[in-house]
């Protein structure tokens, strides 16, 4: 039982990392990225492919983070003059292209069946102590991401991004290079998401195109919105809430004797209703973004 709780906590921490990455782009910078799951996938597949080729976990994480950051920068640059809704659909489309390529290029990616990772994070440990070590690593990574995202948001970069989100024209008139801002926000967010993807692949020892469906991105969005868009602690809270809904639906299935496909529908419905309820009654989320008030008359 407690092994199961450890597992839940590890997955929640990984979700937390991915949720922070989207919050940095969508919450702080106002970029409607609907393809975030693809960056998670880049990290995950980089881990699995390098591990199959015999490289260590550190190398796999590095490759994933660098490739994802580069991809994020390219996408940010390509989409520099798109409106929010066009940008959202374009990123959704790019993530689907990525997934279709993964399915079809089976020689490298294992095709639709996915690919395993022979490298473990802590091969010298066994059983419970291994789980504990992975949990410690995942939480540590999450806290580092939280600290990095928090620092970025508080400093000049964050101010520029919030101005870009609220008043893009004003931002340009101040002489900010908004294309460079967008490219940096995309690259940093993509790198963080890739870290989450790599951790997930090493921990579960497997990744497949089925993990990268658009629904994955919608789930990350749900975490960010219910936690509090623009607030990194909120993003983490949202990740834990969504993870516990998922586990709760599994328990309901066992307690009430639902068939598993009904449980799948049920948890999607709970997530959808929660998201809609928050948007309609509390769009700022559980922990709202704290904006510094400046009194113009002083």
């Amino acid at each position: 039982m407690s092994d199961f709780l450890l597992h839940i906590a590890i997955i929640a921490a990984i979700y937390g990392i991915v949720s922070i990455s989207l919050n940095l782009q969508a919450g702080v910078s106002g970029m409607m990225n609907f393809g975030q799951i693809a960056f998670f996938g880049i990290g995950g597949y980089a881990a699995a492919i390098t591990a199959s080729a015999g490289y260590s976990a550190l190398a796999g994480v590095l490759v994933g983070v660098v490739v994802a950051a580069a991809a994020g920068a390219v996408i940010g640059r390509l989409g520099r003059n798109l409106d929010a809704e066009y940008w959202a659909i374009a990123t959704l489309g790019i993530a689907e292209i990525f997934r279709i390529v993964l399915i079809n290029e089976g020689w490298a990616t294992g095709g639709a069946g996915g690919i395993g990772s022979p490298v473990q994070l802590f091969p010298m440990l066994e059983g419970r102590s291994q789980l504990l070590a992975v949990l410690a690593l995942a939480v540590a990574c999450m806290l580092v991401c939280l600290a990095v995202a928090g620092r970025l948001t508080e400093r000049q970069f964050g101010r520029m991004m919030r101005l870009l989100r609220e008043q893009p024209d004003l931002s340009v008139s101040f002489g900010h290079d908004i294309v460079a801002c967008k490219v940096r926000a995309m690259a940093i967010g993509a790198a963080i998401a890739a870290l989450g993807g790599a951790l997930s692949t090493y921990y579960i020892a497997y990744i497949s195109p089925g993990d990268l469906l658009p629904f994955g991105t919608f789930l990350i969005w749900t975490m960010v919105i219910i936690g509090g868009i623009g607030n990194h602690w909120g993003a983490v809270l949202g990740a834990f809430v969504v993870q516990f809904i998922f586990v709760g639906a599994l328990f309901l299935k066992d307690v009430l004797g639902f068939p598993s496909e009904l449980a799948g529908a049920l948890r999607m419905m709970i997530v959808g209703i929660l998201l809609l309820t928050f948007l309609m009654t509390r769009p700022e989320g559980a922990i709202p973004e704290r904006l510094r008030k400046i009194n113009a008359q002083d």
Binding site: M32, L78, G79, N81, L82, D83, A84, E85, Y86, A88, I89, A90, L92, G93, I94, E96, I97, I100, V101, I103, N104, P214, F218, W221, T222, I225, E261, L262, G264, A265, L266, M268, M269, V271, G272, I273, L275, L276, L279, M280, P283
Partner: protein, 297 residues
């Protein structure tokens, strides 16, 4: 060659009505409604349910369009109109939540198995070297009929004129005495009804499945955006272009280019070609091919 054109047309027919509804509704409400493709699933299931009662097929299509249109208007009033008060972005994410709820509800009620309309088995016709079934001809004809009727409504009637006025300048339209709320309701109804007709026709041609609308989400949005969100004519053009590109990429023999006899792109890359079309279009025309800021009504 003829078969290639027929295949493209059939693909276009699958996506046409849903896309037309999406783009037209966007012109009114100014946010892309991601639940629009789920209306197609609702329509298909309502149609299937009614045909189970032994109703003639045309009546099933009409009734399912009515029901789905009403659902679409109700959802707009209850959810999207309120969300729009926050911002279009919030409304878009909200439409995603609505889509998830609809899809999971259908999955919970109808299960994950796919069903079929009970139709007599078709004899395929030979038409200038291409093979096409009677059902496919009827589906294409009905789709074309709805599209033409909608274009006549939009460009030849007073109602259509007020729709275009509200789309172009909502405040000015209201100042001219156009009841914009009523126009938005009518368009919302038509959007839902078109999605239902499209979904039912799609289901008649293949199967009814809870993922029917979700599977169409990306191609439909790609086509609507390539044409320019908010432009009905653009949507029609976008669907035709998308269908042509998808079919072309998987049917073209690229062998001679690289010095081999046969080299075909795998069939599974068809959808990817559509999304590539989307990305390339947006790089050169950030708001689609048919976008224009202001136009004469």
């Amino acid at each position: 060659m003829m078969q290639f054109l027929v295949d493209s047309l059939l693909r276009a027919g699958d996506l046409m009505l849903v896309t037309l509804g999406l783009s037209t509704v966007y012109a009114m409400v100014r946010f892309p409604n991601m639940a629009q493709t789920e209306y197609a699933t609702i329509g298909a299931f309502v149609g299937l349910l009614l045909s189970g009662f032994g109703m003639p097929l045309w009546l099933c299509v009409v009734l399912s369009a009515l029901v789905t249109g009403i659902v679409a208007v109700a959802l707009h009033r209850f959810a999207f109109a309120r969300l729009l008060r926050s911002s279009p972005v919030i409304a878009m994410i909200g439409s995603l939540a609505v889509a998830m709820i609809i899809r999971s509800a259908i999955q919970a009620v109808a299960g994950t198995r796919s069903e079929r309309f009970k139709l007599p088995i078709d004899v395929p016709h030979q038409f200038m070297g291409a093979v096409i079934t009677t059902t496919q001809i009827v589906v294409l004809a009905v789709t074309a009929l709805v599209v033409v009727a909608f274009l006549l409504l939009l460009f030849r009637t007073n109602l259509g004129r007020s729709m275009r006025a509200v789309a172009a300048q909502p405040d000015l339209a209201r100042a001219c005495g156009i009841s914009s709320g009523r126009v938005v309701d009518i368009i919302g109804f038509l959007g839902g009804a078109f999605a239902a007709i499209g979904g039912t026709l799609l289901a008649i041609g293949s199967q009814v499945h809870f993922n029917l609308g979700h599977d169409a989400l990306l191609p439909v949005f790609a086509a609507a955006i390539v044409g320019g969100l908010g432009s009905p004519v653009g949507a029609i053009f976008g669907v035709l272009l998308l269908a042509l590109v998808e079919t072309l990429v998987t049917n073209l023999n690229f062998g001679p280019l690289v010095g081999e006899t046969f080299l075909y792109v795998p069939l599974a890359y068809g959808p990817a070609a559509g999304f590539c079309l989307l990305v390339v279009t947006l790089m050169f025309r950030p708001r689609g091919l048919f976008h224009s800021e202001s136009k004469r009504v």
